[in-house]
């Protein structure tokens, strides 16, 4: 296989678009997720279009105990790992339901730590490759509207930052992707401002560029870097009164 990339959470719109970018560049692909039947169809599609090898593999982010066996069971060691799973969850439900906040935290954070720990160790041994984690601008500052989700993403961003620090010099690069609004199925019920909202294809192009151009942190769309700079700069005294 030529530089295979493992996409975790390959059923998401952004992951699907990224799979096309990676496939077009000649990478073989593992599409990992829970809906194996659909992932196998996606894999077949990518194989026909780009003449690569692609395979759907079953992966459950919440089944932490399975992660090591899952990773080591892959036929060929991945050259790159893209972490694309995540859920928005129901933030208001999370205020009253333990089940809900656990699901948000475990999917967006704990599950990531679990699988990336295995991946990082294997890549470090191989002395080459990359990890690209899709976090969120929501992790840059906690807001009333989505702070459970945001805090899990903040945890993920911090984890990726630490991992980048650890693996620096080992030949393994770590990329943190912070999408702003992206028009996907995850956000289909939200009313998003069109000027700030990326299509999954635009986001995928940004992520692919970040992977090839050796960037550390990438915002998509780019304008979010500046938006978040402003938002992070607002003093807490003022921020706590705001509703944004």
């Amino acid at each position: 296989m030529s530089k295979p990339v493992l996409i975790l959470g390959a059923g998401s719109d952004m992951a699907k678009a990224l799979a096309h970018e990676l496939g077009a560049a000649g990478h073989d692909l593992y599409l990992a997720g829970r809906n194996l039947e659909e992932l196998q169809k996606d894999a077949r599609d990518l194989e026909i279009r780009y003449g690569i090898k692609a395979r759907g593999v079953y992966f459950d982010a919440l089944d932490f105990a399975s992660h090591e066996n899952f990773y080591d069971g892959l036929e060929t060691r991945p050259y790159g790992v893209v972490l694309a799973f995540g859920i928005l969850g129901d933030e208001s439900l999370a205020r009253s339901s333990r089940e809900q906040w656990e699901k948000i935290i475990h999917t967006n954070y704990t599950g990531c730590v679990s699988i990336l720990t295995v991946a990082a160790n294997r890549l470090e041994q191989a002395k080459e490759g990359f990890v690209a984690g899709i976090s969120s601008v929501a992790g840059d500052r906690g807001r009333a509207a989505n702070y459970v989700y945001g805090s899990a993403k903040a945890g993920l961003s911090t984890f990726l930052s630490g991992l980048r620090n650890r693996l620096h010099g080992s030949g393994v690069r770590v990329i943190t992707v912070k999408p702003g609004f992206v028009r996907t199925r995850m956000t289909r019920d939200l009313d998003l401002p069109s000027r700030l909202t990326a299509t999954p294809e635009q986001a995928a192009k940004d992520i692919f560029r970040a992977i090839t151009k050796k960037r550390d942190i990438v915002y998509t769309r780019w304008v979010w870097r500046w938006i978040m700079l402003v938002i992070k700069g607002i003093p807490e005294k003022i921020f706590k009164r705001m509703s944004i």
């Binding site: 169809k41 077949r44 026909i48 279009r49």
Partner: protein, 441 residues
């Protein structure tokens, strides 16, 4: 959101539901009360409009390519453009292609689209080997010429009214070169133009541009074009790559008076004389030969916000000459010049709602101006009287009686629809206008 098709008329408030898998499609269909499938919205009118739309372009995976036999199976939302970019490098081409590649496979089948080679190779449906149809009752039917043949024929050209096409397998045509050898022949009048179609009947691709503003002796003046695929190495040594020309896009709607009748007249003359001078064979690549307008991403905006109407009819061959003459006279007397007029000789059609029949088809683009509807009514009368019909994919205003007279096999179609869709779930603004719902004719 407001949705309209390519001609921006009509514009209706609609909810779009998209799907990525058969299961998702099924649940949309189960929950819907009334809905209609829609692809990339390149039809001209309301055939894929309604309050609830099942949007197919997200369902676009390739399922199987047989590069030896030349067959491709893919999901119905796949665009012809995507198909071409995959099959051309393997040395294959679409056996039938319309004037744009930005349509979906499902749309191509549902409108049973035709190309410049219809007289020899028929419409798109002829090259479909089999398809999978999700019926409004939630069944998946395998349809082909052997299995459910009646349904198969009716789905080709069936305007998405019998079920949602999930996927289809099509046969491809071998391709040696991405170039077309074409020739343009000027014709001084309608007789000459029609004569050229007859004498070049064996040419693979034939089509004509017509200057609708000429009257009297020059009525029906035009440019006839015929083309053939080049053999390997004939035009260039370049390999088989999808000639993806750079796409331009217009930044805004042009004010709709940008092209006045006088301007069109001047343009037509200029175009006619320039093209008439170049008489030898010319080579053009597939993209510029088949999809000249695809390079401008949104050329429909040239017609302004109000949009435009495309009027495409076909007349039985025995009445074609008389009909075309009358149509041109009407256009002249109404002073409503079409921006574009394309003439083509078609072969016989197949499905019960398929547009094609043996005879001449003329496609006319009219900007939305006061009086255009009454002109089209006058044209309707000519077409109806001479046994012709209007293309459903390009209709936004035809009346019911005109449809039922033009499509005598519609009753047969409706019988089938009653069986497959007893609750009449699948309907569009067009199908309701035309009475293509049960118990309505």
């Amino acid at each position: 959101m407001l949705v309209s098709n390519w001609n921006n008329y009509p514009r209706v408030e609609a909810a779009l539901a998209d799907f990525r898998s058969q299961d998702e499609a099924l649940s949309i269909l189960e929950e819907a009360n009334k809905c209609i499938p829609r692809g990339l919205g390149r039809s001209y009118g309301d055939c894929s409009l309604g309050a609830d739309i099942i949007s197919t372009p997200g369902f676009k995976r390739l399922i199987h390519l047989d590069p030896q036999k030349g067959t491709l199976e893919c999901e119905s939302g796949t665009s012809l453009d995507q198909i071409l970019s995959v099959i051309i490098p393997h040395g294959w081409f679409l056996p039938v292609t319309p004037g744009t590649s930005r349509i979906t496979l499902g749309g191509a089948i549902s409108s049973d689209v035709h190309g410049k080679n219809h007289h020899l190779h028929g419409a798109f449906g002829r090259h479909v080997l089999d398809l999978r149809l999700l019926t409004p009752q939630g069944q998946v039917l395998e349809c082909s010429r052997n299995e459910n043949p009646e349904i198969f024929q009716a789905v080709c050209g069936g305007m998405g009214l019998l079920g949602l096409i999930l996927s289809a397998r099509i046969s491809l045509m071998p391709l040696e070169s991405v170039f077309i050898r074409q020739k343009t022949i000027p014709a001084a009048d309608l007789d000459q133009l029609m004569g050229l179609f007859e004498s070049y009947h064996q040419s693979t691709y034939t089509v004509a541009w017509m200057d609708c503003l000429k009257s009297g002796r020059n009525l029906g003046r035009g440019l006839f074009m015929h083309g053939e695929h080049c053999r390997a190495g004939e035009a260039s040594r370049r390999g088989l790559t999808h000639p993806d020309s750079k796409v331009l896009s217009l930044p805004f709607n042009l004010p709709f008076r940008a092209l006045s009748p006088l301007g069109i007249k001047a343009f037509n003359s200029l175009y006619f004389y320039r093209k008439s001078r170049r008489t030898g064979y010319q080579f053009s690549n597939i993209a510029s030969f088949f999809y000249p307008l695809d390079v401008i991403d949104n050329w429909n905006l040239l017609y302004g916000k109000k949009g435009f109407l495309q009027y495409q009819f076909v007349l039985p061959s025995r009445n074609s000459r008389e009909g075309l003459q009358k149509i041109l006279q009407h256009i002249n007397s109404f002073g409503q010049p079409p921006y574009l007029a394309v003439l083509k000789l078609l072969g016989p059609g197949e499905g019960p709602l398929s547009f094609a029949q043996y005879g001449y088809t003329l496609a006319l683009d009219f900007p939305m101006r006061p009086g255009v509807f009454s002109l089209l009514k006058a044209l309707d009368r000519v077409v109806q009287k001479l046994g012709g019909r209007i293309y459903l994919a390009k209709d936004a205003r035809m009346q019911k009686h005109m449809f039922w007279q033009g499509y005598p096999r519609a009753k047969e179609f409706l019988e089938l629809k009653k069986k497959l869709d007893p609750e009449n779930k699948l309907s569009s603004l067009q199908s309701r206008r035309l009475g293509l719902c049960q118990n309505q004719y």
